[in-house]
Every structure is written in structure tokens, then in C-alpha cells.
């Protein structure tokens, strides 16, 4: 894989039950590329958590995934409300999700911590009122 492969997805913010479509597609692509199962698992979970966050908090967004000879890069960009306190948001158990989200099994305050756990590098750029861009890298 000397050439970089890139994939773009629009994440629908309206339909909560379809959240995860982009992650599932990426998982399928990575399997077809023959990546090892643990790398696929890390990328899939990190991206799914990010996708769910965009649906819960930001009304959707865009996901760009690229694969090169070093690893997988995931960029998640939304124009949502932004994260007021990133350090707080990174704490396990801290969540601003509403009760209806919690009843679906989300909103446990584990999304961003899981994204960090499963990515080798993670960078969050967020501005209140403008949006959030999260870049995650998973190396081979």
C-alpha cells in the first residue's frame, strides 16, 4: 500500500438508529485490504464512538478516512456546539448526553476516552459555537 487510499462519509445527524454506517463501511473496507483484526477493531471502535458523538451532540458531520503504509487516519469534522471543557469531556463517566440517549445505552461518558484508548494519536480542535474536528491515527 504505497498509495494513500481515502474515503469520505457524510454522517447523518437525524437518524440515530443508522449511526455507525460509516464505521461499518470502513470496517468492511479495512477487512478487504487485509489489515490485521486488532487494527481493524481499534479503528472501528474509535470511529464509531466519534460518529455517535457527532449524532448525539452535533447534528451530524463528515468523516474522512485515509490509509497509507503507516496506518489509518480518521478525521471527524462537525459544525456543532463545540466542546466547552475538553479536559472534562475526556474524563471517564462525564457526559452531557440527554436521558433519551442514555436509554439507548449511550451517554455513559466513555466515548472520547474510548477514542483515545483505541487510537495511537488523537487531536481535538474545538471552538464553542463553531464545531469540533477530531483527528485520530491508528498505526500498523
Amino acid at each position: 500500500m504505497s498509495d494513500e487510499l481515502t474515503f469520505h462519509f457524510d454522517v447523518d445527524g437525524e437518524n440515530f438508529t443508522s449511526a455507525g454506517h460509516a464505521s461499518v463501511k470502513v470496517k468492511k473496507i479495512l477487512r478487504e485490504l487485509g489489515l490485521d483484526p486488532e487494527t481493524i477493531r481499534k479503528v472501528s471502535i474509535a470511529m464509531y464512538e466519534g460518529e455517535i458523538n457527532m449524532v448525539i451532540h452535533a447534528g451530524g458531520g463528515e468523516a474522512d478516512v485515509s490509509v497509507d503504509d503507516k496506518g489509518v487516519t480518521i478525521v471527524l469534522k462537525d459544525s456543532g456546539p463545540g466542546i466547552e471543557d475538553i479536559d472534562k469531556a475526556m474524563e471517564e463517566g462525564y457526559s452531557t448526553a440527554r436521558d433519551n440517549i442514555r436509554s439507548l445505552g449511550f451517554g455513559a461518558g466513555m466515548g472520547l476516552p474510548n477514542m483515545k484508548r483505541y487510537s495511537d494519536e488523537m487531536n481535538i480542535e474545538s471552538e464553542v459555537g463553531k464545531g469540533t474536528t477530531i483527528t485520530m491515527k491508528v498505526y500498523f
Binding site: 455507525g20 464505521s23 461499518v24 470496517k27 481493524i40 477493531r41 472501528s44 445505552g105 455513559a108
Partner: protein, 108 residues
């Protein structure tokens, strides 16, 4: 052990079984989906009472061997179809989570 063997030995019921020969190497119980994604390991049997469509996505992305629905929780037909499309094994236990976990613990 294989998912199909667990069903037989533990007296569980198959809900969707597209990959009956998948090996189970451990188990995890929990209903908070991010908690499951953070803690469950690949090839675990995941015991839960959650029954919404996101369970299928989490099972797929976390790469668990099967979902074990405790307390005879029922799934909508649409969710079963999605599970089949994504090759997710889902089995059902009539027991609560704790007893289900104890039962699985006898065999892995």
C-alpha cells in the same frame, strides 16, 4: 468453544447464527455500549439486556463472538435481519445476566 456448542451445552436459543463455528474465548456483561466497547475483548460472548439496533453495530465493531440476550429479551425482525447481514451471532438465554454469566463460565 464454538458458539453452536455453547447453545447446546447451556441450553440457550439461537436468534441469528450466521457464524456458528466462531470460537468464544471469554465473556463480558454490560448494557452501556461505550463501556462494552472499552472493556469487552474480541471473541468474547457479550451478555446484555439491550435490544436496540445499536447492539448489532457494537457487536460488529467490537468484534465479539456472539451477543447473549439475557432474560429472553426479544429482538425486532429488522434488527435480526441486520445482524444476519453483518454476520453477527445472537443467542438468547432465559436467565438473568448473572446466572447467564455463571452458566457461560462453566464452559469457557
Amino acid at each position: 468453544m464454538k458458539v453452536s456448542e455453547l447453545i447446546e451445552k447451556a441450553g440457550f436459543r439461537a436468534v441469528t447464527l450466521p457464524d456458528a463455528d466462531r470460537e468464544i474465548k471469554g465473556a463480558y456483561a454490560g448494557d452501556l455500549l461505550s463501556w462494552v466497547m472499552g472493556r469487552a475483548k474480541a471473541d468474547d460472548a457479550w451478555i446484555t439486556i439491550m435490544s436496540n439496533i445499536n447492539v448489532v453495530a457494537v457487536a460488529s465493531l467490537a468484534d465479539v463472538a456472539c451477543v447473549v440476550l439475557a432474560e429472553d429479551v426479544e429482538l425486532d425482525e429488522e434488527i435480526k435481519q441486520t445482524a444476519l447481514d453483518r454476520e453477527i451471532n445472537i443467542i438468547s438465554s432465559g436467565m438473568p445476566i448473572y446466572e447467564t454469566a455463571l452458566e457461560i463460565g462453566k464452559f469457557i
